[in-house]
């Protein structure tokens, strides 16, 4: 009893659970019982959204547009003309960058005509020989971070060329090269706006929250309607997806600039403009550049998903390979994506951490060393390409462009490995698969589905109230209400069940692994590096090996999700445990507590809030992955979102579904984040 009065929260939890189970047993499952399921009052929402978008696209504000073909004015809706203009601008730039890498004539056509091209066979933009790009990558790596990065950049680009993935890789790269700068610019502008105006921050914050928890697929649907299908649409979807972290980090960086620095800028007589661009932004440079890094990573994460709406490059090749179960090819392409991701990640991070050089009295040569080398590489590459043209007289000029699928390939090897695994372990894998599905997943799924809506509300809001307060409880209630009133409650429960299963397993794995590694400084460093490395993989990549092992089943999705979601759990555990101040360790040792006691009574309680933030990330990661997993077949929200992509009525449905997923994530996020931050403050860790 004494214990209970001392821990009122424990009492509250016991009561909450009692009420929850009472409701579960008392409420009878019948469609008319609103304690069991709420009526889908928001059923019309997707259609209303659809109709509004349609109206906006096709009927709103008709304007007169001159059409050269029929030599007359035509009535066209303003909004569609605007999106058309944006689309064609994007397409032009994408083509232009692509042709720098790969050659072609589309850009020239855009400014002249097909007739011009046909009459003038010379009017063709030549590609950069791949040797030049490899050389430049090496140089850039060297300039940014010395030999190590130069080697990495060289190996990555060489791999692309040697394995015959040059063309799709450059397509993907050109796509990143357009999406990333636009996202960075947009993020910077919005971040500055939010920094300058309080109301902008208040406005952007919830939008960013939703945007960062919406599954990738949901971005695709409205983009198709507004911008059509193709590289430009994919670029736009990517930009929408990649901008939020940039806004966040810009804002964060600007807010972190010390007050003294701002005051010093003001007292130096800066105008508002000078203060922003000569004091604030340069001082916040590190955070902003980390934002750039995030943007690049998000762009790569989208390459595969964007291929659903017509992005060319590695992503679409991967989709085709996976669809036709050519796992070997899939692996090879996956490796390419990972290599590009790792190289770009390391380069952009090196750039972020690089200090500006001060050129006091360097000679002309020293100052322009890299430009000179770059020029030399270019000339040498071009000469090599010419020699190549003489050597490989018939067939392909391997020194110019390695044609697609004409490089070395390891696909047969991988295919053989997969076949071997299947032949050898077929029964084992199948047994495991069946066991997992019949004894764990299906019962768990049924349990979730047997939960009356009233019980769910009580449980979630109750936990929210106990851990984070009444405000958070109400917010969570609002999120749940949206889902409950939509048509998708049951689907959402399925998503929740897969995600929570994955989260539980990931958390156990991650916390255990993290705790073990945190005991030792070197092990911590190594595990954090491994986490870094795996985190650069675009999420889709995780599906390749599991498909290889488990085929197309729920198990595959769950295992991929677990692997992916274990990363943040591990990372935050290590970080949390390692950041327990040394003084406390010493104090513990002085008091004569054993290693285990110290761990249980000092380290874990102190690190716990941070570990919970890791679990929060795990939840978000798991949700993302579960939805992506829909691609290989689950029956949750993700599957519906995927369907919505090819549905002409899909916009509203896709968005509503996306919001449902986002709200699940945000509900959990609300509880954990509020609790962890308060706890950290109480422990004096912030």
């Amino acid at each position: 009893m004494d214990y209970l009065t001392k821990h009122p929260k424990t009492v509250q939890f016991i009561i909450l659970l009692a009420v929850f189970f009472a409701l579960c047993f008392a409420v009878s499952p019948s469609e008319s019982n609103i304690l069991w399921r709420l009526p889908p009052l928001l059923k019309q929402l997707p259609y209303i959204v659809n109709d509004s978008v349609r109206y906006l696209m096709f009927d709103w504000m008709p304007i007169q547009v001159y059409d050269a073909l029929i030599d007359d004015y035509e009535e066209k809706p303003l909004f569609r003309e605007m999106t058309r203009t944006v689309s064609s601008a994007f397409l032009l730039v994408i083509n232009f960058i692509r042709e720098i890498f790969l050659g072609g004539n589309k850009t020239i056509v855009a400014f002249t005509s097909w007739d011009f091209i046909n009459e003038n066979p010379w009017a063709r933009w030549p590609a950069l020989p791949w040797t030049v790009i490899v050389g430049w990558a090496i140089l850039l790596g060297y300039k940014l971070h010395g030999k190590g990065l130069a080697v990495l950049a060289g190996v990555c680009t060489l791999y692309l060329a040697v394995f015959g993935q040059w063309k799709p890789s450059m397509e993907t790269l050109s796509f990143v090269l357009i999406a990333a700068p636009v996202s960075v610019l947009l993020g910077l502008v919005l971040g500055i706006w939010a920094f300058k105006r309080k109301y902008a921050e208040t406005l952007l914050n919830p939008l960013l929250n939703v945007a960062q928890t919406m599954p990738h697929y949901s971005y695709l649907v409205p983009v198709i309607v507004l911008f059509g299908v193709g590289d430009h649409a994919a670029a736009i979807a990517t930009i929408v997806f990649a901008t939020p972290p940039m806004v966040r980090l810009t804002l964060l960086g600007l807010q972190k600039v010390p007050a003294d620095v701002v005051d010093a800028g003001m007292m130096s007589g800066c105008t508002a403009f000078q203060l922003m661009f000569r004091v604030l932004i340069p001082t916040a440079r590190r955070d902003i550049l980390i934002g750039v890094n995030q943007v690049v990573m998000q762009c790569l994460a989208m390459t595969v998903i964007a291929s659903f709406i017509g992005a060319q490059g590695l992503g679409s090749n991967l989709m085709i390979a996976l669809n036709s179960l050519r796992v070997g090819t899939g692996i090879e392409i996956g490796v390419c994506i990972v290599l590009i991701a790792v190289a770009l990640d390391k380069m952009s991070l090196a750039w972020a951490n690089k200090q500006t050089d001060y050129f006091a009295d360097l000679s002309f040569f020293q100052r322009h060393k890299f430009a000179l080398f770059a020029a030399i590489v270019f000339v040498v590459g071009v000469i090599l390409a010419y020699i190549g043209a003489l050597v490989f007289r018939d067939g392909f000029n391997y020194l110019y462009i390695v044609p697609h699928n004409k490089g070395v390939t390891t696909a047969p090897f991988w295919q053989a490995t997969v076949d071997w695994i299947w032949d050898t372990f077929f029964y084992m894998l199948r047994t495991f698969n069946e066991f997992l599905i019949t004894s764990v997943l299906v019962p768990m799924k049924n349990m979730y589905l047997a939960m009356p809506v009233a019980a769910t509300f009580v449980l979630m809001m109750g936990i929210g109230y106990i851990l984070a307060g009444i405000r958070q409880a109400l917010i969570i209630g609002a999120f749940l209400l949206f889902i409950a009133l939509s048509e998708y409650w049951d689907r959402a429960l399925i998503t929740a069940y897969i995600a929570s299963f994955a989260v539980i397993v990931s958390a156990v794995f991650g916390i255990t692994l993290g705790s073990i590694c945190a005991q030792n400084a070197t092990a911590s460093k190594v595990i954090l590096l491994i986490c870094d490395f795996f985190q650069t993989f675009p999420s889709f990549i995780y599906l390749i090996p599991v498909i290889m092992l488990f085929g197309i089943t729920d198990t595959s999705v769950i295992i991929a999700t677990i692997v992916y979601a274990t990363i943040p759990a591990t990372r935050y555990t290590v970080e949390g445990l390692r950041s327990v101040p040394q003084v406390l360790h010493d104090a513990g040792s002085m008091l004569g507590v054993s290693r285990l006691q110290r761990w249980v009574s000092i380290e874990v309680p102190l690190a716990f809030p941070h570990i919970m933030l890791g679990i929060n990330q795990t939840v978000i990661f798991a949700l993302f992955m579960v939805i992506i997993g829909a691609f290989i077949g689950t029956t949750d929200l993700g599957q519906l979102i995927l369907k919505a992509i090819s549905d002409p009525q899909g916009t509203g449905i896709g968005l509503t579904l996306g919001l449902c997923v986002a709200f699940i994530g945000l509900a959990v996020d609300q509880i954990i984040r509020t609790w962890a931050n308060e706890r950290k403050k109480a422990l004096g860790l912030d």
């Binding site: 620095v261 005051d263 010093a264 007292m267 130096s268 007589g269 800066c270 000569r278 340069p282 001082t283």
Partner: protein
């Protein structure tokens, strides 16, 4: 005392504050208006308002070094920020160099800062992405000077604060004392008339702090700026100040010369504050000397009348005979017995005061 005041009146006030208030919180202005200028911090706090500066009136004269003293949270920085208009005062009038500061528009304010004001900050406020030289040149470049001019001027400043050889370092590569030298050089680069320093040496360890104070006195002897100097270290205030303003809860409790503050504390708070201050550090020879007596046999030593007792005590104690006190022209204005010095050094408070 009276002589002093007349002298000050004759001098030109560079900064003049009249009933300046700074209250933090929403609708501070209207609450202040309805309270008719009578501000009780406790009551305001209950209403959710924080009183930063409370009815402060003061003047800083040309070439004077005014130190603002007070405990943490007493409103020193806030007052300084009002006077530099880094924040807008809630009420009151601030005249800087004949201009009404609060009436300046944005452009005029920038002009004022670019040409007349310099400021040094407690945590330095250096731009991390610029080198020492670029940091110092920054206010000039902001003004639109050419790179060449600003860099050569910055180089002069580097020499002035003794950082030659380090001009291409980044702030993070410098020690705290060196960083503050950069801060000082930067604030002086535009040759301001008015120099604000907000606890410039607080972040430094005691040895470096002493060294920086000496450096500061050396600079001030050369430059003769009008200075507002914030500190919470009384020793520092005594070493540097022409006059000291002691603040508590946003109110200036007393504004006077160091000696007067120690000898005639205006309020109980100030008395407590100055209780432990060694008298020899504030008393000047003139305030403890005797009138010249022609019959007395004096030693050979001559000491200036405006020297601090502390600085001449050792010499006087070494003399057997009384010593002569002279003014700046070398005329004898009094004599000093070693017994008086002993009283100042070891006697109680009342005796030292009696000597006056």
């Amino acid at each position: 005392m009276t002589v002093n005041v007349q002298q000050e009146d004759a001098r030109h006030a560079v900064i003049r504050c009249e009933s300046v208030y700074k209250i933090f919180g929403s609708n501070a202005a209207s609450v202040l208006e309805s309270s008719n200028g009578v501000v009780d911090s406790k009551k305001f706090l209950e209403a959710g308002l924080i009183v930063g500066v409370n009815n402060v009136s003061l003047e800083v004269y040309q070439g004077e070094l005014l130190v603002i003293m007070g405990l943490s949270g007493s409103g020193k920085s806030t007052l300084l920020r009002c006077i530099s208009r880094l924040t807008d005062a809630t009420a009151g009038k601030i005249i800087v160099d004949g201009q009404d500061l609060l009436a300046l528009n944005h452009k005029q304010l920038i002009e004022l800062r670019r040409n007349k004001m310099g400021m040094v900050f407690q945590s330095f406020g250096l731009l991390p992405h610029k080198t020492v030289l670029e940091n110092i040149a920054f206010p000039l470049q902001v003004k639109g000077s050419s790179t060449r001019d600003s860099i050569s001027r910055a180089m002069e400043m580097v020499k002035l604060v003794g950082l030659d050889g380090r001009e291409n370092y980044f702030p993070r590569e410098l020690s705290g004392g060196q960083q503050q030298r950069v801060g000082i050089a930067r604030s002086l680069a535009v040759e301001p008339d008015i120099w604000f320093l907000d606890e410039p040496f607080s972040a430094l360890d005691p040895l470096i702090r002493k060294e920086m104070q000496d450096e500061f006195l050396r600079l001030q002897a050369v430059l003769g700026k009008t200075i507002l100097f914030v500190t919470h270290d009384f020793d520092e205030a005594l070493r540097l100040a022409d006059r000291i303003a002691i603040m508590k809860d946003g109110v200036v409790e007393q504004l006077d010369t160091p000696a007067n503050i120690v000898l005639h504390p205006a309020t109980e708070y100030v008395r407590k504050f100055t209780e432990d201050v060694p008298r020899e550090k504030v008393l000047r020879v003139e305030s403890v000397m005797d009138a010249p007596d022609p019959d007395e046999v004096l030693g050979d030593l001559r000491i200036p009348m405006d020297a601090l007792v502390d600085s001449v005590a050792e010499q006087i104690l070494g003399e057997e005979k009384p010593v002569a006190v002279v003014d700046s022209n070398g005329n004898m204005v009094g004599t000093l017995h070693s017994s008086h010095v002993i009283k100042v050094l070891f006697g109680g408070r009342s005796e030292a005061t009696d000597q006056q």
